[in-house]
């Protein structure tokens, strides 16, 4: 094999004795480009070579725009119309796929190659029962009769861990949770017994706990079915935990490839190191919390209580819950759903309260009550001694919002697409009567500066910004009226891991400089561990554990918290080797918690 990636191939064959030496999938020097009318073609893949062995997982890791999804699409032969493979070959089990006609490809796709898309809800047709959709590949390839197909799908549903397959068969996607939808898609991909699965960010849209079970399922399938999986992900933590081999892609080129252990131990490339630092690999709750304690010491212990919730409760009736919260309704019966019950907590000025729980645990309802967006059924919330009131049209809440601001999860949805950055930042300044036009303009410049945005961005529309930049704009908007409390609703879970790091570092430095109080919610205990002084753990609307971050992270009392800890992507895998740690220590010499601490990620933060 005279390929550029000979070393890795050798390692593969030596590591899998007894298996056939030819890999299941082989890419050799594959280049692909996209043509844009009136311009030179844009190369997206540049001489990529990699193998996927049967019975192993090969992870392709890279940031958005690195070309990793194109790699998956080259294998499935589903490049968009303006894309084409310019060089190299793709061989699946001895059959060359490059150059096949669309007609010939159709016999391969879905039959020998299964595909699992990123967004489970978008991947399913809302009008068809999931069972019918899972049988779609079988039908397309004319396998079996209707009854046989049903039989096979029920079998698969059981295999992918869906309870009560017969009942689920006729359900529609909106009646299922995100994790269940993803299992249905995996069942669909597996239905024709393919030898290769392409999983394009299969868990990015899911909770970490669900992510773990889905990844467990994929690992099991590899074992039991001798599958080869090409796992495309932006999180090196996920890759390190699950994959046998890793290929790190940057700008369409593989910058680092090889056995997982070797890549983690010796990244040997700045980009890979960056990804490694951004992941939660080798996560240690003690380290994260200990690092946070350094900051917490600077906050006086008798710092005044800014946010106080007393016995807050909220119940949704079935009509409301069916309309907007189908999963919660499915879980706890048809009549009423308890979103939050008897939640009490305090947050002191300058500290961060982390609220963690799975989707449907009621954490979003809780912060919405906190911000006066949803009325509470019982209990009260006080901010700075003033009770939080709710009004459907926001009447009489202006005084509250001078003190409380919120940052939403999805920066693509929370910014008006018709406003420029300047207009977005000017709005709260006007609303809270912040001085003259000149003072406001000065404040906008200042806000852009503290959130690390270049000044010339002010007159752009948000559609022109990246996800990270948008989230910075959202943070700048929240800071505009100089609030005391910022409610952060999953502020990083829609972003790439590297961008997550940058946003967390920004939030950390803003808290230090401005003495802000944060209420931070996330489904990922790894993220919560880094930012919180106190942690509240929610499950089905009830607080199951609460206390100082260090205590919860090091001595979890409930199985739920243990599960959340175990679900942090990459936490189970061994951390970076000693030299990586040493390397990190050079960057921040006095910091023992270098692996995940925000101070550490400040090193990757680019000051723009």
């Amino acid at each position: 094999m005279s390929s550029p990636e000979v070393p890795s191939t050798e390692r593969v064959s030596s590591s899998a004795p007894g298996r056939q030496s030819t890999p299941l999938l082989r890419l050799r020097d594959v280049s692909a480009e996209f043509t844009v009318p009136g311009r030179a073609p844009v190369p997206v893949l540049d001489g990529v070579s990699l193998d996927v062995e049967a019975g192993s997982i090969r992870a392709v890791v890279g940031e958005s725009g690195s070309g990793k999804s194109t790699l998956g699409r080259v294998v499935t032969g589903t490049l968009p119309e303006n894309g084409r493979v310019t060089a190299g070959e793709v061989v699946l089990g001895g059959r060359t796929l490059t150059g096949l006609s669309e007609r010939q490809y159709r016999a391969v796709r879905g039959k020998e190659i299964g595909y699992i898309p990123q967004d489970a809800l978008l991947g399913l047709n809302p009008l068809l029962p999931v069972g019918v959709q899972a049988a779609e590949p079988l039908r397309a390839h004319g396998v079996g009769s209707r009854a046989e197909r049903r039989e096979r799908v029920l079998d698969l549903f059981a295999k992918v861990g869906l309870r009560d397959p017969a009942r689920l068969y006729g359900r529609h996607p909106h009646e299922l949770s995100g994790g269940m939808c993803q299992r249905v898609l995996i069942a669909a991909a597996m239905s024709t017994r393919p030898r290769l699965l392409i999983a394009d960010e299969p868990t990015t849209a899911l909770d970490v706990t669900v992510q773990r079970t889905i990844l467990d399922l994929l690992s099991e399938l590899v074992e039991s079915e001798d599958l080869g999986i090409l796992l495309i992900t932006h999180d090196l933590g996920v890759a390190a935990e699950r994959a046998d081999e890793i290929a790190v892609v940057k700008d369409g080129r593989i910058v680092r490839g090889g056995r997982t252990g070797e890549v983690i131990a010796d990244p040997g490339d700045p980009y890979t190191e960056d990804l490694l630092r951004s992941s939660s690999l080798g996560f240690s709750g003690r380290q994260a919390a200990a690092h946070r304690l350094e900051y917490a010491r600077t906050v006086p212990a008798d710092s005044p209580v800014v946010v106080e919730a007393k016995e807050v409760g909220k119940t949704f009736t079935s009509r409301a819950s069916r309309a907007s919260r189908p999963f919660r309704a499915a879980r706890s019966g048809p009549d009423t759903v308890t979103a939050v019950a008897g939640a009490s907590f305090q947050v002191r000025r300058g500290t961060t309260l982390g609220i963690v729980g799975e989707s449907g645990s009621g954490k979003t309802t809780l912060v919405r009550i906190l911000a006066g967006l949803t009325p509470a059924d019982s209990g009260t919330v006080e901010i700075d001694g003033e009770p939080v009131v709710h009004h459907r049209r926001g009447a009489g809440q202006a005084a509250l919002y001078r003190k409380v601001q919120m940052v939403y999860q999805d920066p693509f949805a929370s910014l008006n697409p018709r406003s420029t950055v300047r207009a977005i930042l000017d709005e709260p300044l006007r609303g809270h009567r912040y001085g003259t036009a000149q003072e406001r303009a000065r404040r906008i410049t200042e806000l852009l500066e503290v959130t690390g945005l270049p000044a010339e961005l002010a007159d752009r529309y948000t559609a022109e910004l990246s996800g990270g930049q948008r989230q910075r704009v959202a943070i700048a908007r929240a800071l505009a009226p100089r609030p005391d409390v910022v409610v952060l609703d999953e502020p990083v879970s829609a972003l790439d891991v590297t961008v997550q790091r940058q946003i967390l570092a920004l939030l950390d430095s803003l808290q230090r400089e401005l003495g802000l109080t944060y209420v931070f919610i996330s489904h990922d205990l790894g993220v919560i561990a880094e930012v919180s002084d106190e942690i509240v753990v929610l499950q089905h609307g009830h607080i199951v554990e609460r206390g100082p971050a260090l205590g919860i992270l090091t001595e979890p009392r409930t199985d739920y918290v243990k599960e959340l800890l175990a679900s942090i992507p990459g936490a189970a895998a061994p951390g970076p080797a000693a030299e990586a740690r040493h390397d990190a220590a050079v960057l921040t010499p006095h910091d023992p918690a270098v692996l995940v601490g925000p101070g550490r990620s400040a090193a990757t933060e680019r000051t723009t």
Binding site: P80, E427, P428, L453, S466
Partner: protein, 314 residues
Amino acid sequence: MTTLETEGATEAGEAATPMSPSARLRRRVGLRPRPPGHGDRRRWAAPLRSPGLLAAYLWIAVILLAAIHPGLFAAGDPLRQDGSQILLAPGADHLFGTDDFGRDQFTRAVWGTRLSLQAAVVAVAIGLVSGSLIGLVAGALRGRADSILMRIIDIMLAVPSLIVSLAIISALGRGTLNIAVAIGINSTAGFARLMRSEVLKVSNAKYVEASVFAGHGYVRRLFKHVVPNASRSVLAAATMDIGTAILTVAALSFLGLGAPPPTPEWGLLVAEGRTFIGVQWWLSLLPGLVIVLTVLAVYRVGRSFNRGRTRVVA
């Protein structure tokens, strides 16, 4: 490679890289980014690349010019009769031929543009404004106000529009403007429904909820965030509706409810020509073709507004 690197850098280091407005969208849907500035150029070039759209724009320009300054196309008097030139076939002197009073049909068609177009635009404007307001109020207030307004709209939709028009015209009297009012009232229901559904949709957007934190009053937030985002499809629908309105104005004029006979008006021209349709077919057909072409052109332009991210309101 440059585009890719730009993209990577924007995500990783968030360097300030100029990107065309559509580039982010293209990325979200998994397309490659276009080079900077390309999107703007494309918006200009869009009509040029599609000959049908270009022709539609040109035709509308000609029609508008004829409406504003008919003398440019036909210098003659549309009312001048000439007993010696009755019912002539189309030719170099009389492009559309002459009618039974010897009036030049082409001149009449050109001079009739203003009235027909005016009526159509007024009709759509009435429908758009009243419909949008009703839809906005219903969608914003919800609850009982919404139910009441929407039931009224349902009633309006349940009665055949031609009968409503006839009733309104018999109440207001004949005339092109009254036709316009009747059509406007008829199209209110459609606009109200569309606006309401758009308002409901946009009100659910996160950025509308987020705007409450800016401390502004409800009405201001409504007009700043909800109305501009909801009005896009309503305005696109309005452009399409102009075509329909031209047709309806012509139809009602044809029925004799519009301007009285000597006035040149498209629908009336077709109506007057129908007496001779067996022999002098051009009298009805040629003004009819003008109507057809105008309606098609308006539809084509409206369709181009409706597609993609074209900004109807800046």
